[in-house]
């Protein structure tokens, strides 16, 4: 990627940043190649390089879960993952969950249960819940709560998030 010229400035020696590395990612079943710096996170690669802004940045420090995506089907925190670490990997983001215009059951359940207000934590919650479902570990409400606690929702939609996940699990919503 060509850099914006800095030549217009006084001729003092520039401080170089980092050389770009070419990587390939399969994002939502589409193969993408991109040139990223070693310090570019997977989150910034998705948002700024691939314009997939559905994945959110809430802290950039691995503390909030807003940036959760699925890599090879497992939920990970994309702000604590450098893009170059995932060269060749298969990434699923919120934009890739709906198939042929039909919402993923979790997406529909989040709407049905009003499992959000502002919606900013929501892509991370849904990707995290998709990972949780795949893990198959959570059986009870308390286990869902515990295993979804890496995703902060400041709007406080937690009980509805749990209800939505239960719906997607095909549970009745009665269990506690």
């Amino acid at each position: 990627m060509a850099r914006t010229s800095t030549a217009a400035r006084p001729s003092k020696q520039t401080i170089p940043t980092q050389d770009k590395i070419s990587i390939a990612l399969t994002v939502n079943n589409v193969e993408r190649t991109l040139q990223v710096s070693p310090w570019t996170t997977l989150l910034d690669a998705l948002r700024d390089h691939l314009e997939l802004t559905g994945t959110k940045k809430g802290c950039d420090h691995g503390q909030c879960g807003a940036c959760t995506v699925l890599v090879e089907g497992r939920r990970i925190i994309s702000c604590l993952t450098l893009a170059v670490m995932k060269d060749g990997a298969k990434v699923t983001t919120i934009e890739g969950l709906a198939a042929n215009g039909a919402l993923h059951p979790l997406q529909q359940a989040f709407i049905d249960h009003d499992a959000f207000q502002c919606g900013y934590c929501t892509p991370g919650q849904i990707c995290s819940a998709a990972g949780l479902l795949a893990e198959g570990k959570a059986k009870t409400v308390n286990e869902i709560r515990e295993l979804m606690s890496g995703n902060i929702c400041r709007c406080g939609a937690y009980p509805n998030i749990v209800a939505a996940i239960q719906q997607a699990m095909g549970q009745t919503g009665e269990k506690s």
Partner: protein, 737 residues
């Protein structure tokens, strides 16, 4: 035709939010986009002696560094920086205005580069020399500098003689309570993308609760003309009051775009957001005197809250009892003490969240002293009229809140003695408290465009910060025009749309519903006028009040077989659309107090050995008039209860007062409730009919849900343990001390 008002309608913007297509301020692109990063001060007070940006400028990819020395022109007069909700007293912060440092982490430079990582790296190379001045950030340390408000509240006149009545009272309780600084921490980072449109005009995508407020502010502060700047915020990732005032990143991004004549995006870091604004730390002193049967004889409520040195921010903590309890002798005073931090701001139910926490904790302590059930005490003191000005309420179904809340909670099974209830190794505590907030309405304008194909667009420059504005606007419009909700498009969050004040204080839903109502009336009147011009009109001689719109027709109310198809009317009038715009002002209902009320019941379970506290159940019974949308309304209250749990048990901004610097400026060490902290929350909307407040009988839900929650939990902790912790948050160590 289905009626949407009052139903559990799903969010109309839900699909955009669950598919990731809803775009937030920092997500808009431009072909010439460059990225900003902020350099912050590392001292709390003093002056910048030298700022060396040479190394930053040498970084490959850096385009410019803006400081107070080279920034573009900005207004000097403090008045030019006053936004719609700025405090009356003081001069607002002007980013990069001069060399003065007023708080730690103050923005002092903006680095702009072709990539954001580069900008961030270069920001770390800016070197600054300071001249330090003595600072203070601890409320307790500056308590003796406390002063009266320069602009006092209207409502705090003393009644009777509180101190004499206190001295004479049979039963007394006096205590001090403390609420630390809390931060809003919306999940979206504060961000602005200033898109340079080429012709010198800017479109600014901003995270804000008021696009028109930001638009006017930018024009005034940066000397731009009104049509130079358009401000957009179609989605906002949470505000809670932090986005009422324009924040500094919008000034920096816009200044950068003006200087470089290209598009600039600036996203703050989470850490930087801790120096935007916060809920002020507050000391509350309560003194209650009562007769032995629990009638209040004396009520003193004094608050001291922090503000900055450059603005006097204050919200009344102390007069909320006037909406709840009768008492002949009262004394209220709210004062401020200045610290070297940025100016505090509104945060969810400002004044009430903190003041009512203290009041309702004190009422619980009084009930203990009287050996009276906490609900019985509150009913003994129940006021049928607002006490401050002796006004009737438009409605007050607080008794129903107590009754329905207590029933749902099972309050009658409570054993009153502390430490008398258990569940295995855990102590069980049950506590309750009351909540109160204002039912406000503001002038606002709605525009409806009804097209011949049966579609309508409703537009207003208001915001949806997660509160459900899109959905309630669609519901009200659909009902008023007799259309299915799928035929309604809502436009908001754009400064070029019809006027709206900032979204806050629980006033938008009620106000915009009124404006949509009057605008739909105008649409109906215009359609009828046109219909009556048609040959042999079945609607001849009727007035707009005689007809309704339903299923694409104008229909006589008296004789539904008399009607006209709206499409025919438009075709006959050779129109493809009808556009109407009206402004609704708060209706003049005379002298009434307008409030929402609530009763909150909380159960805590506390591990006796470890002191771990869990809030296992909360019942919140709300009286807020007619509920426009029970689904999104439920979410607002539930979310507020979660905030109350955080306030009671988790949230506290910790400052190292030696350095005047926040120590836990991140979302791991500033504790907020996570999923595992939240158990059963039951929300009850009690039936509260209000024929006075407005035609729909609505009151607004954004704030009432948090008020009183922390007190109910604190009272439950006392009931479980016999230990009264009066400084929030109630952490394990405080139970052991």
């Amino acid at each position: 035709m289905p009626s949407y008002i009052g139903t559990a309608t799903s969010r109309v913007d839900g699909r955009a939010k669950v598919t990731g297509t809803a775009k937030y301020a920092g997500e808009f692109g431009a072909s010439d986009l460059v990225y900003g990063a902020v350099v912050e001060s590392t001292i709390p007070k003093g002056r910048i002696v030298r700022i060396d940006v040479s190394d930053a400028l040498r970084v490959d990819g850096v385009i410019d560094v803006l400081t107070h020395e080279n920034r573009p022109h900005m207004a000097e007069a403090p008045g030019a920086w006053k936004d719609e909700v700025a405090p009356d007293v003081g001069s607002p912060f002007r980013p990069l205005y001069d060399d003065i440092v007023m708080f730690n982490n103050q923005p002092i430079a903006l680095v702009v580069a072709d990539e954001w990582e580069t900008a961030r790296f270069a920001a770390s190379l800016v070197r600054v020399d300071y001249e330090r001045a003595a600072h203070a950030t601890d409320l307790y340390a500056v308590r003796d500098t406390v002063r009266d408000l320069q602009k006092p509240f209207k409502s705090s006149k003393p009644r009777g003689n509180a101190s004499a009545a206190y001295a004479a009272a049979a039963v007394r309780h006096e205590a001090e309570y403390y609420i630390p600084i809390e931060h809003h921490n919306p999940m979206e980072l504060y961000a602005s993308t200033a898109v340079w449109n080429g012709d010198g005009k800017l479109t600014v995508y901003d995270k804000t609760q008021g696009v028109q407020n930001v638009q006017r502010y930018l024009c005034s502060a940066l000397g731009l003309s009104s049509d130079d700047v358009r401000v957009m915020s179609e989605f906002m990732g949470g505000g809670f009051g932090s986005g009422l005032r324009p924040q500094y990143q919008v000034v920096l991004a816009t200044m950068g775009a003006l200087k470089l004549q290209r598009s600039v995006r600036l996203v703050l870091t989470r850490q930087q957001m801790y120096e935007l604004c916060f809920r002020p730390a507050t000391i509350e002193r309560l003194a209650l005197g009562a007769t032995t049967d629990g009638s209040l004889e004396s009520l003193t409520h004094e608050a001291i809250a922090v503000t900055s040195h450059y603005e006097e921010f204050a919200r009344d903590d102390t007069t909320w009892a006037d909406g709840l309890y009768t008492c002949a002798n009262t004394n209220y005073s709210h004062k401020v003490a200045r610290v070297d931090l940025c100016t505090p701001s509104d945060m969810r139910a400002p004044g009430a969240t903190t003041g009512v926490y203290a009041l309702e904790s004190a009422m619980d302590e009084l009930a203990v002293a009287l050996k009276l059930d906490p609900i019985a005490l509150r009913l003994r003191c129940y006021s049928e009229r607002e006490q401050g000005e002796d006004l009737p309420f438009t409605s007050k179904a607080l008794r129903e809140c107590y009754r329905e809340g207590a029933d749902a909670f099972g309050w009658d099974k409570r054993s009153p003695e502390p430490r008398s209830m258990r569940d295995g190794s855990e102590l069980v505590g049950w506590g309750m408290a009351t909540g109160v907030w204002e039912a406000l309405q503001v002038p606002i304008t709605a525009r409806i465009t009804l097209t011949a194909n049966g579609h309508a667009e409703v537009a207003c420059a208001t915001s949806d910060i997660g509160t459900g504005t899109y959905t309630v606007m669609a519901q009200v419009t659909a009902d008023a025009l007799g259309l299915p909700i799928e035929s309604i498009t809502v436009k908001l969050g754009d400064s070029t749309l019809p006027q709206s004040p900032v979204e806050g204080g629980s006033w938008i839903a009620t106000s915009i519903a009124a404006a949509i109502g009057t605008t739909a009336d105008a649409v109906r009147a215009e359609l009828l006028r046109r219909a009556q011009q048609m040959p042999k009109s079945q609607l001849a001689g009727m007035s707009p009040d005689n007809v309704t719109l339903t299923n694409g027709k104008i229909v006589s109310k008296q004789n539904p077989s008399h009607s006209a198809l709206i499409a025919d009317v438009m075709r006959h009038g050779k129109m493809d659309r009808i556009v109407q715009e009206t402004t609704a002002k708060p209706n003049d209902i005379g002298k009434y107090a307008r409030n929402t009320h609530s009763a909150i019941f909380a159960e805590v379970k506390i591990d006796e050995q470890l002191g771990i506290i869990r809030v296992t159940r909360v019942v919140s019974a709300i009286a807020a008039g007619r509920i426009l949308n029970t689904k999104t309304g439920h979410s607002q209250i539930m979310g507020s209860v979660v905030w109350g749990i955080g306030m009671a048990l988790h949230e506290e901004t910790l400052i190292d007062h030696r350095f005047g610097r926040i120590m836990n400026a991140n979302v791991a060490e500033y504790h907020m409730p996570v999923n595992a902290d939240v158990h059963d929350i039951k929300v009850i909307f009690v039936d509260e009919r209000d024929d006075i407040i407005n035609p729909l009988g609505m009151k607004g839900l954004g704030e009432i849900g948090i008020v009183g929650v922390a007190a109910a939990i604190a009272n439950a902790v006392y009931h479980a343990t016999g230990k009264r912790v009066r400084d929030l948050p109630i952490t394990l160590d405080k139970l052991q001390r």
